[in-house]
């Protein structure tokens, strides 16, 4: 958490010293999107989750420096914002692969064999839950019931929902055999 203590006061603009120390600034596009959200709410910190999602959409994940930059813009403490960021499972505080696999492991998918599918994905891609392939293509995460239980087992890859998953469909998506070249990393 010590990394989260702002290098500068939360409402001051960044100086060169702070930038040299690894700080980041929000891009014009990020600022425009965040400010559009701010215009709808009574106070700036109310858009904390929207702002985290906006920065994540641009950068793939939310780094410590991004948390500090967003906090400065929202006039809130970086630690408070990180408390929000770490609460929500779809805010990624570590880098993720180009495609996040959200594997439903709730009850209806469990009945239909999601544990075996998870094993199969691990064999094919060389990653367990929370891990990313070495080629950075995939990150595997569990997710809450995806609301498609009549098509169980299901998962999402990026924004696409995949229903009635079988070994065959996993083969079409990820290749048919174990791929040691894609070995996982945390």
């Amino acid at each position: 958490m010590s990394e989260l203590i702002p290098a500068v006061s939360i409402v001051e603009p960044l100086d060169e010293v702070a930038l040299a120390a690894g700080e980041t600034t929000l891009s014009a596009a990020e600022l425009a999107e965040i400010d559009a959200e701010i215009s709808h709410v009574p106070y700036r910190s109310a858009v904390a989750i929207d702002a985290l999602k906006i920065v994540q959409a641009h950068r793939g994940w939310v780094s410590d420096a991004s948390v500090r930059a967003i906090a400065r813009h929202l006039h809130m403490g970086a630690a408070e914002l990180d408390g929000v960021a770490t609460f929500y499972n779809l805010i990624y505080r570590r880098p993720v692969g180009e495609n996040v696999i959200l594997l439903c492991n709730s009850i209806s998918c469990w009945i239909k064999g999601c544990e075996q599918l998870q094993q199969s994905i691990t064999t094919r891609l060389g990653i367990g839950l929370g891990e990313t392939t070495a080629d950075n293509r995939y990150t595997l995460l569990p997710v809450t019931c995806l609301g498609a239980c009549d098509k169980a087992p299901v998962m999402m890859v990026g924004e696409d929902l995949h229903e009635n998953i079988t070994e065959h469909s996993l083969g079409e998506l990820f290749g048919n055999t174990a791929n040691p070249a894609q070995g996982g990393s945390e």
Binding site: G83, I107, C149
Partner: protein
Amino acid sequence: MSTGASLDRPLTRNVRPDRSPTDLVAYEANGGYRGLRGTIGTLSPADCLQIVKDSKLRGRGGAGFPTGMKWSFVPMDNADGGHKYLICNADEMEPGTFKDRLLLECDPHQLIEGMILSAYTIQADIAYIFIRAEYHKAARLLREAIAACYDKGYLGKDILGSGYTLDMQVHSSAGRYICGEETALISSLEGKRANPRAKPPFPQVSGLWGRPTIVNNVETLCNIHHIIERGADWFQGLGLTEDAGTKMYGVSGRVKNPGCWELPMGTPIRQIIEEYAGGMEDGYSLRGFLPGGGSTDFLTPEHLDLAMDYDTIGKAGSRMGTGTMIILDDQTCPVGFVKNLMEFFARESCGFCTPCRDGLPWSAQVLDDIEHGRGRPEDMDTLARQVTFIGAIGNTHCALAPGAMEPLQSAMKYFREDFERHITGGSCPWCDGGAH
């Protein structure tokens, strides 16, 4: 999916077999926004409230609280002239629940028309649709539908010349089951951690940003324009029992035809499972079922002839919850089933109160021990104590942990011998057979 006569299946009248979305043109061609046009500026908010009260509509998110009564607690004098909010809870995450996705993806305008009339009734000036992050398609369709409504004058300033003004926007969430709890949802919408809030004050008086706020489920709000347009008597006549209306029922698990159907409230459970879901898959038999999502008590084959409505299922010792059943078959381990649910609830605890934060992982650990043959006879007593302590309303900050205890306590009642077989045999009888 049922696409039968529009008269008796109002919620799914625009749902097509291929589940393609109904746009504004198609929605209006089938009578859409007629309820809005006939109401705003004609009926008073008090008239609308009375119709919804008389309809006996109960909240479809799981608790079954009477919608009209919930709305009646919103202060209507609005002496301070500040904002009032209507929030649609589209954060569908209850395990085994897949009904709101259908309504959102197939007929977004039905929800929006219902929301406009609901907001009008409580005189809210801002409406949010709080939707789970994974429902990308539904969020996109809703944003398009809202934009179309602004163009048509159904949203924005002075709607249809009535003097009533309403703004509406979609908030896409960032995960976590607890956001479906209405006060946690409000915390999340304010940009905070989604910790539930103490009640009172109730959201109707002090909700979003301290202002009067109503939070209703998608299916609840989808009913509203039909009720106001067609009347309370019509709505009550739809139900087969004391409970009014239709209900989105679903069945998942090892049945031949898992799915979601709009049927009269009070349809017998047997009919839903055997007729609509096609009965059990070949080679499987029914041992039990959760009637309405992961936080409801098991019922068993002896309950199949009960009517699926709030009061009947309540009297049988469970809850109708979301109305989407999860089937436990004879080749699935009841201990593993409950362990999966407990691990889910432990993971999704917001961490605010001790019984939930520390108690649910403890329960999950005991179940894991039993499932993997490490259980001891006294573990059954430990689980029973946890059920008594954590399951009691008032010992926890919100209903998540008591809900988590419902499948456990009923599994210990109906499938106790299966728990004991794990403990005395030192292994899972189902794992040995490789069935799961």
